[in-house]
Symmetry: C2
Subunit: 126 residues, 2 copies
């Protein structure tokens, strides 16, 4: 069986502090699945870009990658940019299986946790 990797794909931003919750998410996922190579990659403004991270994983002998878009909204980045990057990566790495799933903001359990947080915010703010 080949080596598998999980790539958490986020937007990126100018300020370094922006990535902190994504780094915590990466650590949590890595702790949950120690057999898996878990990394962050970005669309823009931060490195590594998704294409570069997947090329690096391919060079390390990883032959199956799952890309999870860590985005809340379903805009152009998830609906248009990501599919183009996936096509480009599949052409560049024909021996690699590259999966992707819906954005985290689509997941009912994530939405439920966010909803709980919002309700608690009102109670705590009183």
């Amino acid at each position: 069986m080949g080596r598998r990797a999980l790539v958490l794909f986020a937007h990126g931003a100018r300020s370094a502090s922006w990535a902190e919750p994504f780094e915590r998410l990466r650590e949590m996922a890595a702790a949950r699945a120690p057999e898996l190579d878990v990394s962050l990659a970005f669309l823009e403004l931060m490195s590594p870009r998704l294409q570069d991270q997947v090329a690096s994983l391919a060079a390390q002998g990883v032959d199956e990658v799952t890309v999870v878009p860590v985005f809340l909204g379903q805009g152009g980045h998830v609906l248009r940019d990501l599919p183009l990057i996936l096509d480009e990566m599949r052409l560049a790495h024909p021996g690699m299986k590259i999966h992707s799933v819906g954005a985290v903001g689509e997941d009912p359990t994530v939405l439920q946790a966010m909803s709980d947080y919002c309700i608690k915010a009102v109670t705590n703010g009183s």
Copy 2:
């Protein structure tokens, strides 16, 4: 006791589909707390802007508002733009209590739910 409102503050985007998960989140929070006025508001590109939504709530007699930033990353929008908007709104509506809390991406339970989703994505993608 005065009327209270919860405002879910999101970035906004060009494509209308972007807001769908935020609208679902709004519906979930409203269902959890039917006594509360729950609305969405945006930083840019979508309406209403946060300032306009809070002005509209003030005009409706709401006297206490909790603003929850529905952002994952901790960048300039949450760390710099939002505090300025909060100051501006407190000056504009001195009779209104305006609370805010940390971004949803800071919440351990939200991060846990996202981590579970990422791990499941690898299993489902096999």
